[in-house]
């Protein structure tokens, strides 16, 4: 199939899964009641559930799933490795630590932008640390060193979070634990708008960088000779992808492996051209996270499984498969003399 067909299919899937997502839930509503509520008719309580709870939650899944998937694809181009992903690289952990810190210091309560800003700062610190640890003499990043760096940085942030929590009150601890596992519970229209404000400009700017990202995937020196302003592209892409990750983490906590599974699957379907890959990865990430959220709500009723648990359960087997293949073949496919 052509990329445009895939875009249509995935666009349709976003709409259909969105409808499915607001049809399913704890309250037993018929499809008729749900659609009536969507159109602003029917029972006030139904409307409150559908429009006030289910719809913002599904929209949040679209924004965060799409954002995480897109930023995963961007990190993969920047680090020239299909295993790069915000969660594995410890970037999500850094963002979560920033968020928890803002909560614990009480900043989040007084300033609405403090939480996302702290998450963003945490994400930037994490990526700086990972790259400092993983950078070798030449600009080639060894996949094993990179993953190790992600683990080490992740462990560091987990300890930071544990420390902050140990000196925090019970309420902070409860919301912080939710952060560490990831959850769409409590998504309301206010947070949805905030995430939209932070992530949609980043999404648009990153899609605009698709062409230079394609060049980076074949190497920085070659990209420079082909006319890309490599340092500028790298800086912009790191900041924007971190911002995107941070916006998601600030709203829903740490949700792992979305940025790994989704871009990988899209690459299998349409190839590695980022002009096609990035928009499709956003759509597919949205569908994936909405489905994961439906699963989170329905596998063990009435308990809700944290959505981060679901994505990790799906992501780990695929990650191991990719890792085996990648280490078996040596880091990257060598070409040329």
């Amino acid at each position: 199939m052509k990329p445009i067909t895939w875009a249509a299919v995935l666009g349709l899937a976003v709409v259909l899964v969105f409808l499915l997502s607001i049809l399913v839930g704890e309250a037993d509503l018929t499809p008729g009641q749900v659609f009536a509520a969507l159109l602003g008719e029917g029972d006030i309580n139904d409307r409150r559930i559908v429009v006030g709870l289910r719809a913002p939650r599904a929209v949040m899944a679209i924004l965060v799933g799409g954002g995480l998937s897109l930023s995963g694809a961007v990190f993969q181009a920047l680090l020239r490795n299909p295993l790069a992903e915000p969660y594995i690289l410890g970037i999500s952990g850094g963002a979560a630590t920033g968020a928890v810190l803002a909560l614990a210091l009480g900043l989040a309560a007084s300033l609405s932008w403090a939480l996302p800003a702290a998450a963003f700062a945490g994400a930037l610190v994490a990526i700086f640390l990972v790259l400092r640890v993983a950078a070798t003499a030449d600009d080639q990043v060894d996949v094993r060193v990179l993953l190790l760096a992600g683990v080490v940085v992740g462990a560091f942030f987990t300890a930071c979070m544990a420390f902050v929590l140990s000196i925090s009150d019970a309420r902070t601890v409860r919301s912080a634990v939710l952060w560490m596992m990831g959850s769409l519970v409590g998504s309301d229209w206010r947070t949805v708008w905030m995430v939209t404000l932070y992530s949609i400009p980043a999404v648009i700017a990153l899609v605009g960088l698709a062409r230079p990202l394609n060049l980076l995937a074949i190497g920085e020196e070659t990209a420079g000779y082909l006319g890309a302003d490599v340092e500028r592209v790298k800086r912009m892409a790191y900041v924007l992808a971190s911002l995107l990750t941070a916006a998601g983490v600030a709203a829903t906590g740490v949700i792992g492996f979305v940025g790994l599974i989704v871009p990988h699957s899209i690459r299998l379907l349409v190839g590695a051209d980022y002009r096609v890959l990035l928009p499709l990865a956003f759509l597919a990430g949205a569908v994936f996270l909405m489905l994961a959220d439906i699963a989170a709500r329905t596998v063990l009723p009435p308990t809700e499984v944290p959505i981060g648990v679901i994505t990790v359960f799906v992501g780990v087997p695929l990650f191991l498969l990719l890792l085996r293949r990648s280490v078996g073949a040596g880091a990257g496919t060598g070409v040329g003399a």
Binding site: V207, E221, L226, G271, A272, D273, G332, T333, A337
Partner: protein, 276 residues
Amino acid sequence: MATESTEPAETRNDASAALWATELRVHYPNAPAPALDSVSMTVPRGSFYAVLGPNGSGKSTLLRALLGMVPHQAGQTQVFGRPVSDWNRRALAQEAGVVTQSESVAFPITVRELVAMGRYPYLGALQSETPTDKEAISEAMRMCDVDNLAQRYLSTLSGGEVQRTRVARALAQEPNVLLLDEPTASLDVRHEMEILELLRASAAAGMTVFLITHHLDLAARFADRLLLLDRGRVAAEGEPEEVLREETLKRVYEWPISVSNDPATGVPRVTPLSRH
């Protein structure tokens, strides 16, 4: 050793030069010695220029420095009469195509996709290929004989096919000067000769060719001028007969070497002897 001159450096630049450097010095951080020291050279427009020298003599650094990819601590470099720092990368990529020693692709990519990347300097952020771009891409693939491989993934190609694809990408840039760093190092005789003949034809059509190679004989046969580097300094520069002298080569390569005239090609033939 035709590089010494008493004239001020600036006046020696010749507007007809494709690539030009004077008193170039590049010292990498933490390196004990400079990679390039007092290197002056002129690559005339439309010429086939070959750079020779032992491993580590600074050939690849010279290529990078000429195009501003590594900073230089002293001297000047110019591309088509303008200092390299005056060029933005996009404009430079329309003038100069480069085939580096090696590259690795992070994701599966087809031959057509790799060659199409040569059109990057001509296209806007979200613009799709125009008929001109498509024409340049197919023409480059045809010239390098990879048009029949268009939809093949790079990972399924032989070493020779990969190199031809990379040369095709540089040609798709429609450059006025083509710089190649040992493009034939891993190729067999036929594939090596095919690339060299393609380069010679391109030079004959007006393109400047700057070739780094270890093959002294072939450099003598194909190039108009040679530059021999030795530990970052110019050991000799000029026409093949001037550069490929026994004494110079023995000293630079630290090996007994005999130079004779090859009756089959009429150019110097370099034969390494045994040490004893």
